[in-house]
């Protein structure tokens, strides 16, 4: 009758039921929840698209620029996109409140556009994406990122060479 001990313990300690859904729910800081996308940091390298197993991330070239789309309803919350993103442009938040009525099914998505711009140095049409900081030391300052955003890949390379890159 070991079990009676447990009953007594349960009666003495009271129910262990949490107050949710009538009260707030505890969420751990590392909870892998809804994906968030930070357009200004995206370099358009498409690493996230390549590692996304369920095909929840999609890049399309459109006349206006590079379109980023992400559908929450097929995302498996694995976090590989965040793991392999070189600029932390894609990030997994701790938001898990995602239950929705079925008519919202297709609006559960992220749609962003990295627009085309004309290179501020040579005037060529180019994507206004963030520069890829991998292996660059010291890292780009926010001002430099804004500057590079307006450059085409060739002019970026030139600017980087002028900046000096010890690594």
């Amino acid at each position: 009758m070991n079990f009676l001990k447990i009953f007594v313990r349960n009666l003495v300690n009271g129910p262990s039921t949490v107050s949710f859904p009538f009260g707030p729910a505890w969420t751990p800081a590392r909870m892998r929840g809804r994906i968030e996308f930070k357009l200004p940091s995206c370099t358009g390298c498409r690493a996230c698209e390549q590692v996304c197993a369920p095909g929840a991330i999609r890049f399309d070239k459109t006349p206006e620029g590079l379109r980023f789309m992400m559908w929450h309803n097929t995302c498996v919350f694995c976090g590989l996109c965040e793991f392999y993103c070189p600029t932390d442009a894609i990030h997994q938040s701790d938001d898990w409140h995602m239950a929705h009525a079925v008519d919202q099914k297709f609006s559960m998505a992220i749609r962003e556009l990295i627009p085309y711009t004309n290179c501020s140095a040579c005037g060529m049409k180019t994507l206004a994406s963030a520069p890829n900081p991998v292996g660059i030391n010291p890292p780009y300052t926010p001002e430099e990122i804004e500057q590079h955003r307006q450059l085409c890949p060739a002019c970026r390379k030139k600017a980087l060479a002028e900046r000096g890159n010890p690594s």
Binding site: R58, M69, I110
Partner: protein
């Protein structure tokens, strides 16, 4: 460290009369993996019987169709046309032949016994020797057009009746996904929906 017993290569060579190609590797933690390719698939039963006396446990079997070898350069005039590349044992690498690998466990170490069978060929069933071969062989038969000779219960294992036999032979060589249309439909609907950005 090496596979136990130490003379396993000699034993295998003595049993498989058609010839064997044997190699083994040991990882940093001392776990051994051995690969033994049989030249002739008719040596299979005798070899497996030998392994059984050594206390091997059949872990599973893998069937697949290795890719075809790249086409050889066109022969120069006067030369004989080049022989097509073959696997050890003479089966041609045409992308349709089967490579069948039987993975045995020898007290923690792994011995993989490989046979090659030409497209449309047959292979002996190991089920009479190892009960554990039953399901893998049935699975092999439904996923490939391979015939396992003398299998005691050659029925479907997992596939739904609505799916045709030899599913992998039909599906794997192509790069597209069978249900890719569903994904396409989804993205069209997502693009058509202008919901709140979230």
């Amino acid at each position: 460290m090496s596979l136990k017993p130490d003379n396993i290569e000699a034993l295998l060579t003595a049993t498989a009369l058609g010839g064997v190609s044997f190699r083994q590797t040991t990882d940093a933690k001392g776990v051994c993996s051995a690969w033994c390719t049989l030249a002739s698939s008719s040596d299979l039963l005798a070899t497996v019987a030998l392994l059984k006396t050594l206390g091997a446990r059949l872990s599973t079997m893998t069937v697949f169709q290795p890719k075809a070898s790249p086409p050889p350069p066109a022969p120069k005039e006067g030369e004989a046309p080049p022989q097509p590349l073959t696997f050890f044992g003479g089966v041609i690498q045409d992308g349709k032949s089967y490579e069948i690998a039987y993975h045995f466990d020898l007290d923690g170490d792994t011995l993989t016994l490989i046979v090659h069978v030409a497209s449309g060929g047959q292979v002996d069933s190991l089920t009479p020797l190892y009960r554990a071969a039953d399901w893998p062989e049935r699975e092999a038969m439904e996923l490939y057009a391979l015939v396992v000779r003398a299998h005691p219960n050659p029925q479907r294992l997992f596939l739904d009746p609505s799916i045709d036999n030899a599913a992998f032979e039909r599906l794997i060589p192509y790069s597209t996904l069978t249900n890719a249309g569903v994904s396409k439909g989804f993205w069209e609907k997502i693009m058509a929906t202008t919901g709140p950005k979230s």
